[in-house]
Symmetry: C2
Subunit: 328 residues, 2 copies
């Protein structure tokens, strides 16, 4: 059987994760890496050829699915529609408020080109979205709670790094265990932002910086920290590197619903992730959806899609018969 | 908008659950109940008309989806293919070893009639199958563990009731907490049957029966109990009715996988259900899939399907746009 030919656009943590994930999926092969850097300076671990992003269109017939590994802030809003006019694509667009607009732009480009693009793939949006959707359909009378962490928030880490006197920093979002327990009991609590998550900051201060001032500036920062119980720990650059280089993450989606003639019966659905590496896991999800995009395009199902539009069997290398036998 | 017209075949716990679930889904209406009993003796809570199962075919144009609420042992193997030749159907066929054969029979009947039948819907098979499949695709290098309970096993309860001297009984399957914890840690333990679940039996003995003998007969029963650590409690008929009439159930599907260049990164996906009522929850899943069967049939997607073949968005009463906005 011919392998599905995969391209990667962008070689950061996510691109490297896709490269490793492809090696776990024998029905796929990696054929090209596109970068905006000088291709000669990029040395992928797998030794696949590296091209300039500008030359991507010359490879359009050699790639079945292009996995976009750029960021949601500036890369994907441009690359998403652009590449959707050349390739079947997968991306992890996660700027929630802009999904409708992004979906429309990608949909237009993909439909015009007869391509299939699955957007916002990963775990949130992605697997968490699936959990929320299935649970919402099965238990229409109920509330869904999403908790994130413990894990690094890149946006919050960046915000701390912009504080005067901060040399480096990392921020963990931590769900409040008692809140999760309360939700699991089916009491449907109304939880404030502060009651759901706490924020833990590990900060390397510049020499001679006013640590009390740094701590105050972080804790009172609007939007990012002022609505949370925030803890600030000062550590050395070496401790930061040694103890905080892994990128663990995870979280919980819990649906607390009720069934019965008078809604008298509590029903709880919980989905939880405990991830050793956020980018490696996200990449693994992207790769599974690349298989689906390839198949949907073969079936003539073009345009932009989200994970909610993809039948689970399309993600698997196994046949329908094997899936029914082994996993149903 | 026209409502989706639902029929129910069989009015036991599952049929009553479907009746209650339809009331939570305003885009559907219940139009007929079919029973093998004398229709005059069946009084559904919602007051919908009751017909003999034998007259079902006269109603084929008045029902969009028929939800089959019979059992897997004797009802569905006959009813499944029979009704699939008249209606779009949903069922909860759960005799695992016979799914391929059942799928083939239903597929043949449904395709010939231009109908769509989603088989083996519920939570296991059903939502647990989805969790197993998604997790298997996302983490191809790993192991999946399914734990059931705490919940009543009807088959095991029936087995106890056949023991000499037993008047009535109920059996709970209970997952072993330490085994779940071990799996969550990512150690990928090899667990024996005994290490995964224990069995708790609540038995009402006949007057003057030999309780020691009953306990021995239960604990040594092959297939059902001899491979498990089993506890037997003798209680009164009144205690059985008072403390054991609810039908709670649930369980856990845990995928323990590894990513990274050398599989060095642990990744854990967990799906858990904590159900106040097993039949009410199962019915709620059946009803959501009825919506999907209706739509798939409108789209010309005929034949037998499992939950693995159904895109999540098809289950929801919400539009694609609303789903992307609210749940993605």
């Amino acid at each position: 059987m011919d392998k599905i030919r995969i391209g990667i656009a962008g070689y950061g943590n996510l691109g490297r994760g896709v490269e490793m994930a492809i090696a776990q999926n024998p029905d796929m092969e990696l054929v090209a890496l596109f970068t905006r850097r000088d291709p000669k300076t990029v040395k992928p671990a797998s030794g696949i050829p590296v091209y300039s992003t500008n030359d991507a269109k010359t490879k359009k017939d050699e790639i079945d699915v292009l996995i976009l590994c750029g960021g949601s802030a500036t890369d994907l809003p441009v690359q998403g529609p652009e590449f959707a006019s050349l390739f079947n694509t997968i991306d992890s667009f996660d700027t929630h408020a802009k999904i409708p607009e992004y979906f429309a732009a990608v949909d237009k480009a993909a439909k015009a080109a007869g391509k299939t693009s699955i957007i916002s793939v990963g775990w949130d949006p992605g697997l968490f979205s699936l959990s929320r959707a299935y649970a919402d359909c099965v238990l229409p009378d109920g509330n869904t709670y999403t908790f994130w962490g413990k894990g690094v928030s890149q946006g919050h880490s960046d915000a701390i790094r912009r504080v005067k006197g901060v040399k480096n920093a990392i921020q963990y979002t931590v769900p409040v265990p008692s809140a999760i327990e309360e939700v699991r009991k089916g009491t449907n609590p109304a939880l404030t932002t502060r009651e759901k998550h706490t924020r833990e900051c590990y900060v390397v201060a510049e020499e001679g910086a006013d640590k009390a001032q740094i701590e105050h500036d972080i804790k009172t920062m609007p939007n990012y920290f002022s609505d949370y119980d925030t803890t600030v720990h000062f550590i050395t650059e070496e401790e930061l590197r040694r103890d905080h280089s892994a990128m663990p993450h995870g979280g919980f989606v819990i649906r607390s619903g009720r069934t019965g003639a008078n809604g008298e019966t509590p029903q709880i659905i919980e989905y939880a992730l405990n991830l050793g590496s956020n980018p490696q896991f996200t990449s693994s999800v992207l790769v599974a959806y690349a298989r689906a995009a390839y198949r949907m395009n073969k079936n003539g199902d073009c345009g932009a899609k989200s994970v909610l539009d993809v039948a689970p069997a399309l993600l698997s290398a196994k046949s329908g018969e094997t899936l029914r036998k082994e996993l149903l």
